[in-house]
Symmetry: C2
Subunit: 410 residues, 2 copies
């Protein structure tokens, strides 16, 4: 008998029929004598409806009151699911964030969980009940209603699993697991049976938006085994877990990519301390997030070039900031390109294996894909290429590392 936390997202509870289907799934897990805690989101569309309603009152609604409104979405779903479960003779009890309570800080709209009280849930589980908890919401120390921000129900699920020391946290979604890359680009993309927390973080932050990043960090920190699986099709999904120590061979988890990139280069600035701050300080002050940063020494030895990438939406603004600072920086020229894409090879295996980068660059070169920037970390290698090469690049790398073959990489 295991203790399992199951989390169902908005599309899984989008209408009464789907809520009934979730109830059936929950009951069947309960019938296998597992203790079940269920976390649910608001019915799909409900959160947007509530935001629109709030906007009729204030174009930019004050966060405290917006959270009061938003929290009602999950409150409806928990009670509906409890009713659906009882209707099929499965005793259940619902809890809002304040009822658990799930204590958070006071950052309305993006609160962080500080504490979860488990006493009531434990008592209900001991009494044979399914416990249903509203995702996405909590309460601060002063009793104000808070929300964790979009996708926060994943975080609620993982945090509950950690607090309850659950055996597994299952995240039900509309995809049946984590893939080696996006199947819409590479039809031979393969569902991974396992992936490490670190790999998942790289895959998620690079565009494979299966899980909210924060929930994966949380799961990694508290070592909660996390499983992504589909609400609609049966299957084992993908288990996200600590690194498997036995795996010795090269292990590439997959290829992440992002289209929403733009790069900016400041050419010929004097090569002296503080130049990077001089360039990027005003960018950060304008709240523009910078992703990759690469600095080269220019041929003349006394000046340097600095290139960085931003979200494509911020390209124009970033360009203007650089130009406004050009004199102060003493730069020769500002150049930029907002038609680029980023490809990343992700895998814990590259830590201990040389030659991965070389193989990656060779494969791309063979297809005539020019690499514009390179950046590496412990478990990933990212390259920036012209946007038009995105699909070809993904397929080339998928093929080169034989990611479609179970035996090679997993």
């Amino acid at each position: 008998m295991a203790l399992i936390v199951q989390k169902y997202g908005g599309t899984s509870v989008a209408n009464p029929e789907r809520i009934q289907a979730v109830a059936t799934k929950v009951k069947s897990a309960r019938d296998q004598h597992h203790d079940i805690v269920v976390v649910v989101s608001a019915m799909a569309g409900e959160t947007n409806r509530l935001i629109e309603l709030a906007k009729t009152m204030q174009p930019c609604p004050r966060p405290r009151e917006l959270d009061v409104i938003m929290a009602t979405g999950e409150q409806v779903t928990i009670a509906l699911l409890a009713l659906a479960l009882e209707h099929i003779n499965c005793p259940a009890c619902s809890y809002t964030g304040f009822q658990v309570p799930i204590t958070t800080d006071s950052a309305y709209g993006k609160a962080r969980i500080k504490d979860i009280a488990v006493a009531k849930m434990r008592a209900d589980l001991a009494a044979g009940k399914v416990v249903i908890v509203a995702g996405f919401q909590g309460i601060d120390a002063l009793g104000n209603i808070t929300t964790l921000g979009r996708g926060g129900s994943d975080t609620t699920g993982v945090a509950l699993a950690a607090a309850l020391k659950a055996d597994e946290c299952q995240i039900y979604t509309d995809v049946d697991g984590v893939y080696t890359t996006d199947p819409r680009i590479e039809p031979r993309a393969r569902r991974l049976d396992r992936i490490t927390f670190e790999e998942m973080l790289e895959m998620a932050s690079l565009g494979s938006k299966v899980l909210q990043i924060r929930s994966v960090e949380f799961a990694g920190k508290y070592n909660v085994p996390l499983r992504v699986l589909s609400s609609f099709t049966p299957g084992p999904g993908t288990l996200i877990t600590l690194e498997d120590q036995q795996v010795e061979e090269v292990r590439i988890a997959g290829i992440a990519f992002s289209r929403d990139e733009a790069k900016l280069t400041v050419l010929g600035v004097p090569d002296r301390p503080g130049v990077a701050y001089g360039i990027l300080g005003p960018i950060a002050a304008a709240n523009i997030e910078v992703d990759m940063i690469v600095q080269n020494i220019a041929p003349d030895g006394s000046t340097t070039d600095l290139t960085f990438t931003v979200h494509r939406n911020d390209y124009q603004r970033a360009f203007e900031i650089l130009q406004a600072n050009a004199n102060k920086l003493g730069s020769r020229e500002i150049s930029g390109d907002n038609r680029i894409a980023k490809l990343s090879l992700v895998g814990v295996g590259m830590r201990s294996h040389a030659g991965i980068a070389a193989k990656m660059f060779a494969s791309l070169a063979k297809e005539g894909i020019n690499i514009r920037m390179i950046s590496t970390s412990e478990i990933k290698i990212s390259v920036v290429v012209d946007e038009k090469y995105l699909e070809l690049g993904v397929r080339t790398l998928h093929d080169a590392f034989e990611l479609d073959r179970q035996d090679v990489n997993n």
Copy 2:
């Protein structure tokens, strides 16, 4: 500077425009330097929508979970109103039932308020904020969400006024006050400037559904001046208050009536102790509410007739119960009539003035209206007549007691 509790019902907050109109009303009261606590209901239609949603899960939804769902209706409205107020530069803060907290017993769907904590509200008022509280809801000692039942927002308003020792509790609704009778039946019906709590209770329970009865009882018990007024048309409304000691003259507040009546008579039962219980015990056991009860001695002196009224919907069931018990009761005959109506003259003045009943009966007789039953209390006289005489009876009495004239009765 007064402390005023204002309560706005579902039609007053039915859509964003109306919520903005409420905000304007609240701000104008605030601008007169009053401290304002606002209680709001769910947007009209929302409670029914939520009930229907719950019923898709369970035909008869379990009350605990139904209350969790229902409570979201008011939760949305309080935050929308807070946003609307802030948008017109009137600082405001919203509170759900659990945030105040408003503590109730655990009778889901019909909970009773046990305690209201005023500290947070007092602090907000002192800080110059409008306090907005969700009507209709509370929390029990175990932290479960409860609702007070339909119309419970009135009760919340009065209870808050009592707890805060407010100067007045204003109930905004879609009528502009309490009338001497229903203007749809008697166009000369007049809005009362004042009415006593006791009169209001008789008027309300007899069919003038302006306020929830419980809220009037509550207001009377704690001596909270209650004012009924319209959200849509300006005017002073009707003040419901303790009996005015100065009023010496005959004072009839109005004429209440009810169409939903049926009467049943058990004829010729032996006149011995316990016979009323023998008749009405099985009726009560079947959860049928009995209103008027009249017992006469039959001409032969050894048997008696007992007549009582029930809601028309219960008529058939009550009739069958009496027939099933006929042998045991030793009754001669069971008769009944479900086409009757009840007319009631209500007024504290009749306490100290003889002749009111006589005048009432004479007026009805003059119009050929036969009285089938009579029942009296301290401040009302009720008669049962054939249903067809309802409108004529109301108009006859309104005219006889000159209720259209301000100077005579108010």
